[in-house]
Amino acid sequence: MAFQSLSERLQETFKKLKGKGRLTEADVNEALREVRLALLEADVNFKVVKEFVNSVRAKAVGDEVLTSLTPAQHVVKIVRDELASLMGGQNAKIQIAHKPPTVIMMVGLQGSGKTTTSAKLANHFKAQGRRSLLVAGDIYRPAAIKQLQVLGDKLDVPVFQMGEQKPPAIARAALESARRNGQDLVIIDTAGRLHINDELMQELEQIKAGVEPHEILLVVDAMTGQDAVAVADTFHKRLGLSGVVLTKLDGDTRGGAALSVRQVTGCPIKFAGIGEKLDALEPFHPDRMADRILGMGDVLTLIEKAQATMDADEAKRLQEKLKSADFDLNDFLSQLRQFKKMGPIDQVMGMIPGFDKMSKKMKGQMDFDEKDLVFAEAIINSMNARERANPEIMDGSRRKRVARGSGTSVQEVNRLLKQFEQTRKLVRQFSDWEKTAKKGGKKRRLPKFPFM
């Protein structure tokens, strides 16, 4: 999961600090030394790390912190706030033009994910009832135009292309066309280019001059190393970026680019790409991300996702089921389907407070996707009613029979049963968490999840 190893290192550091009770300045400095290393190992830009550590130190060694009753918590809070402000504080939205169409121009290095992100944005705005026009402005990479067309077809969003004519001309013509056809959003895909390629950077300047975009978004691969800053800086100086989209955040990047780019350019990260599917794009919330990094979970995003995707009646039914303690494999299947709609499973899980404390093994067992869903369905359909209601009775020979019947393997059956067990466990953990949250008098009630 993104940020995981950074997250683990920071939490370990703070655990040590919490174990100390009273803190001296030396304790804080020692912790900050570890924070510094953790950030550097996470590819955060060298200069950014320096500034970050200095500003945390300035706040953390004051009397107020050191003499407080819970000094370690204080320090964690300072780090959390500084992390959030490093990434830009609050979520920044796309500027919608007063007079449509809104023009968005996508720029970035080769292979950062511009084309996919263009399509994802069109999809994102489609859900809000806006009509986009995708513009094929990458005339260099073989089959780039075709790629955008295929994606546009999938989304049922029109794609404007003029073959290999000059991109600035294509962009202008596309804008005209959007005006004529009443499309309210124009998303211009451009070819990937190196920031040091003067000729191609000029081409972007010409596109910009021709269509005066409301947004120029830099697409940055979240796995980028120290160079992220030089790249973002150059693009910003030449084009005046309005925001950044971080892609491939569904991997195990330690997140250096996420933590550096905003600081250097002053441009907010507006979206994060979290998967290859066209709905795997989410608004970036720096404050929530900071919580996730420090292991505090991200309940808000989880709730939003659940509310946006879940079938309320089905959720209610499952919830009743669970309470009555006969949550079985049929319910599990239904739950899987609902859950799946919320996005990549590990992403969703990562937002649950305490999830990061689960063992790697346990997490591994919970990793499932579409294909598993097909398997799961086949496997569960090959069980008889008694087995579905009491998975405990699935012994060796039953497992073998079910594997044969479903055209899968015994390993696959084992894996599914394990996942079922883990889910049951997690569900209990989760409802416990809700209970304690309530006891603490907090108003932060969770919505009705199917697995609660």
Binding site: E41, A42, D43, Y140, P142, K146, D252, G256
Partner: protein, 305 residues
């Protein structure tokens, strides 16, 4: 000059970055002090060499200076050069292992690193060497990936075996091998869909492709090339590890070295994983591929001795 020798020219950015900065740090100093060591460490970290490796390198330099009782800052650079060379060099076998007919090269990596482009360039190099090359379009996932490979096939003048988008990559690979065997091809290069190394299921799919290769042609794939983007930071190590676990990786292709990235990640990968870098990509043209050469790489960074 072939595809050797181009490396140095394309690494001029790296040279400015590392060698130039070390010189600037040394400039005007009479002695070696803590600040200078710290500066050295900073330069290395900023080249994506990684924290641990950078510290180790600086400690190595420090130990040599101490042992020789040297205090002259101009000694720093040659010693650092030597330490880096030690780390990057080794049993380097950059030549591709292409033993039989057909030999199979499988190309893997995360999304957008340059797999398909590298395959186009490599097909060109190999067919210039007189080999009959066949490309297998086993990226059936990404939109228009097959068309992209076909364009490269035309550019390199080699044949592409494909099925429709969304079909089973293992089936495409199977077809390709049958075609290669019956039509006497020398080399089959398998393009695969980009995937994040953390996606268990996609990695399983890759293993399946790997198994099909081995089943159809004993010993295949003869090369598994992992394509890494030179702008990637420490995540490259995680990629190399996990692709290595899934399919074994016999060599690395480092692409986009024409950017400003320093390629320092090569040093970290060498130290931690001992996988040789075999090829480097230095642009988007069909000729922009070079064999990696450790000595040349170091020369490129530090200037020739």
């Amino acid at each position: 000059m072939g595809i050797f020798g181009r490396l140095k020219q394309s690494l001029s950015k790296t040279r400015e970055a590392v060698s130039g900065r070390v010189e600037a740090a040394i400039y005007g100093r009479a002695t070696v002090d803590e600040e200078l060591y710290e500066k050295l460490e900073e330069i290395l970290i900023q080249s994506d060499v990684g924290v641990g490796t950078s510290m180790e390198l600086v400690e190595g330099v420090r130990a040599v200076l101490k042992e020789k009782r040297w205090d002259d800052p101009t000694k720093l650079k040659p010693i650092l050069r030597e330490k880096l060379a030690e780390m990057v060099a080794g049993e380097d076998q950059v030549a591709l292992n292409l033993p039989g007919k057909p030999s199979v090269i499988m190309v893997v990596g995360v999304n957008g690193t340059g797999k398909t482009t590298t395959i186009g360039k490599l097909a060109h190099v190999l067919s210039q060497d007189g080999k009959r090359v066949l490309l297998a379009a086993a990226d059936t996932f990404r939109a228009a990936a097959i068309d992209q490979l076909e364009v490269w096939g035309r550019r390199a003048g080699v044949e592409v075996i494909k099925q429709s988008e969304g079909s089973d990559p293992a089936a495409v690979v199977y077809d390709s091998l049958q075609a290669a065997k019956s039509r006497d091809y020398d080399v089959v290069i398998v393009d695969t869909a980009g995937r994040l190394h953390t996606k268990v299921n996609l990695m399983e799919e890759l293993k399946k492709v790997y198994r099909v290769l081995g089943r159809e042609i004993p010993g295949a794939p003869h090369e598994v090339l992992l394509v890494l983007d030179a702008t990637t930071g420490q995540n490259a190590i995680s990629q190399a590890k996990m692709f290595g676990e899934a399919t074994g990786v016999t060599g690395i292709v480092l692409t986009k070295l024409d950017g400003t990235a320093k390629g320092g990640i090569v040093v970290a990968i060498k130290r931690e994983l001992r996988i040789p870098v075999k090829l480097v990509g230095t642009g988007e043209g069909i000729g922009d591929l070079a064999y990696f050469d450790a000595k040349e790489f170091i020369d490129a960074i530090f200037g020739e001795q």
